[in-house]
Symmetry: C2
């Protein structure tokens, strides 16, 4: 509860200060609160968004698509279906990505075994 300073938000989200500012600049984050002196104050809700963005970035979603998702969410409850579909499509891509990664990891292990066999 209450608010978090930029550096707290950075620590908790795993994004750098510059990245947080960048995300606000491009409209991925919006309506981040300010103190009277102009400093950012992140809410628990903002932190929740950052956790989601961390998840989406780590799974390879382009920033443009995260912006799209955030826009839809801001537009209201009636976009829930579209948001759902967007996440499902992304999940499918992630599954493909995981299969590829596993396959190539297996190749890599085989290559490593080759070194061990002839060492």
């Amino acid at each position: 509860m209450s608010g978090y300073s930029p550096s707290e938000a950075a620590t908790r989200s795993g994004f750098s200060l510059d990245t947080l500012r960048y995300y606000e600049k491009i409209g991925l984050l919006s309506d981040i609160g300010r103190t009277s002196g102009g400093r950012r104050v992140f809410t628990d809700d903002d932190l929740g968004w950052l956790v989601l963005f961390r998840c989406l970035r780590d799974t390879g979603m382009p920033i443009a698509e995260m912006c799209r998702y955030a826009e839809l969410a801001r537009a209201g409850e009636h976009t829930a279906g579209e948001r759902h579909a967007l996440l499902r499509r992304h999940a499918e891509r992630v599954e493909e990505q995981m299969r590829l990664l596993q396959r190539q990891y297996d190749h890599l292990r085989e290559k490593i075994r080759f070194y061990e066999g002839s060492g």
Copy 2:
């Protein structure tokens, strides 16, 4: 056995023609044969390297590190230990990457379930 044209090599490796030329330019590929007219001819051995590069790139190895590996291989059999270690270190990073991807994929699925629960 026999040789492959650039476009054949591209198709078989999944790299673009420009990428093949780029890899040769930076020294990742070396000693690619030429016809009398100056056109590239890829051997089965070259194709084998490309398969390895595909594996390493797909698992996130930076090009600089692939260059290092290729250099070691060119230097001779006495670098086998170092090449082995390099691949093992990479495999560990890939394992970490897979764990993260799985974790974030689980988060994503949970988020998707949330949409299905309240839909």
